[in-house]
Symmetry: C2
Subunit: 415 residues, 2 copies
Amino acid sequence: MRLDEDLEEAAGGATGPGPGLRRARAWLSRAVEPGTIDFWRYVEDVGPVEAVRRLRAGAAPERIRALVGARAEEDATLADLARAERCGARLLVPEDDEWPALPLHALTLAVAAEPVGPKGQSDRTTALVPPLALWVRGTGRLDELVDRSVAIVGSRASTAYGEHVAGELGHDLGARDWTVVSGGAFGVDAAAHRGALVAEAPTLAVLACGVDRPYPAAHGALFHRIAETGLLVSEWPPGCAPLRHRFLVRNRLIAALTRGTVVVEAAARSGAQATARRARDLGRQVLIVPGPVTSAMSVGCHELLREEGLGAVLVSSAAQVVEAVGRIGEDLAPPVAGPESARDGLGDVAARVLDACPVRTGVGPERLAAVAGCDVLEVLRALPALELAGLVEWTGTGWRLAPPPKGRGGPGAAA
Amino acid sequence: MRLDEDLEEAAGGATGPGPGLRRARAWLSRAVEPGTIDFWRYVEDVGPVEAVRRLRAGAAPERIRALVGARAEEDATLADLARAERCGARLLVPEDDEWPALPLHALTLAVAAEPVGPKGQSDRTTALVPPLALWVRGTGRLDELVDRSVAIVGSRASTAYGEHVAGELGHDLGARDWTVVSGGAFGVDAAAHRGALVAEAPTLAVLACGVDRPYPAAHGALFHRIAETGLLVSEWPPGCAPLRHRFLVRNRLIAALTRGTVVVEAAARSGAQATARRARDLGRQVLIVPGPVTSAMSVGCHELLREEGLGAVLVSSAAQVVEAVGRIGEDLAPPVAGPESARDGLGDVAARVLDACPVRTGVGPERLAAVAGCDVLEVLRALPALELAGLVEWTGTGWRLAPPPKGRGGPGAAA
């Protein structure tokens, strides 16, 4: 069927996402690079079907036609939809129930704040614009998968440390029924996806290229496993190449779809930093895993933690991530446990008497009082409790320290 | 000369720190453990000379006498002062010009906030009380050394990472004419002192024992080197042992004497954490060096960075430390530099045209326009600048990417 016939039928009043509407959105997703503010606004304004009809008829405003350029003549919609179907993918449109309307609403709010003219408008690589459609491949349902989701992003040139931490976080978040969202790239992204898969949890890779030819090619097996329980997601139609600028445009979706973005390793001035700042702009949690200050791959993380107004929170475990993005009342991380000691909770005098006790030869209470700087009576009052706690012992002629049970520190252990 | 005669002479109206006054302070420094709120208040109230006279005569209030206990009968002042002199040490008293009155004023303010009765009063190990006197050993002048000083504290059970960072910080701060203050302990403390010494900068070790028998004994050579240009400082008279609780009491001085405290490595519930919280209580900067989240020795650092209300700042270099503690207008850390790229600063259209260029076979502007999703005119406008920047080249039949100069990323390098 010709595109124009399908469009006419759709424009004729068919409600719900019929073939005409879906074809219109498919056409739009190839006509202009995603993230273009004015184009998204035009489609919102006249509707997707009418937008395509006018563009193909040359009836759209000049500046909208300029955005589409030579592509207005082309129609690859049937080929794109067929190609998607062949690899187990489908086109999700905002009119579908499965569309993640709630998380993406943050982008609608953000784009409303952009000026009307080109003056002062955000660049396409940074603009927070909702997607016109999403190509998804896999068995998961997008809206359900992103309901409890966290992004894990970071360097492709990650270290063993970064991959270890990303893998652990991915696993532990997956095990807690959180969906790990990442970009499918080498390094931190792949480690996070793999961690989630090990926990048998669905995970979501948001790509900057067609879902039928995911990039990087070396991740073919990984993408296949992701699609088995989770989803590969892209704004670009099948066959599209992972052009450099597309990664920047894609990053806003990773931030928007999730409740928070965890940055595991990032170099200075990296894409992961940009994603973190977008998460903040969208009202999402920005969570940072620190690393050695001697590692270039953690410089970006530390800069984010130092950045005033970003409100980034340091996290070192999945429990702390969940505490930050989870609902209030549930999901609280337990405090980090320190070594417990029988000394803890000793009063001032008791602690001084304990410190006054020698290691070998026992001494009398008067000597203890002189060393501890307190009354003999106070010493006599403190000793029974110290003995009960197994901290001191009576040698027959005086008091001395009891031998440590295991690994108790010597003098200065509390310094 | 007997103590009581010296005291009488001092009480007789001699102004300035004469032998009687100094002996009174020496006696007080042995009579009661430092950090005792009520004792410090009593000495402030009646004066050091009168306090000693009354305590020795049994005329002080009951609760003050109870603090001194059996020590009231003893007098080791001449022996202590002689012992100090033998090891090149002296007793500094608040009446001396060299007394670091300005930094220690924060403790005077803090103790004023403590309740009058014992109810609700801070424990001696946590109370922020000024010292009654300071035994100092070395050639430095205390007030001058601490004027531009930073504390570096951390775990004794440090890792190679912690020692490396502490050493670098100690060195770089020393090289910038900042005095590094620490506790002389194994691990982070020693690495910080050594770093400063390598930079030929004076450094200051605040001890929890007598300056004539610094602890740990294995640091004998280190303490000797510190004393050559800097100072060993202690509230405890010569010969005093490094009892466990004394380290906690000592830590408040490290925090008070310096403009900020840097924690390099700290376990959960460690003394370094306590020092950091005191620094905050005294209005000092709390600066934290992060580490791998997989390291138990960085858990305490990360907890401090997560602690609400602490206002701890992440630092990864001496420049950032100086920026935090330095005077406004001077001492600003340079931003971390990222890799520069000819792509930086390209407009949206130019970036898209660049991404549309193939690697091998050159293509015409029409093809570029179709791939980039823009007008042919825009392509023709963008190409000259891209060529000038060395990013694209004309093959004779079309445009293609110029070969990368060195290490330029492929697709997705910005992700």
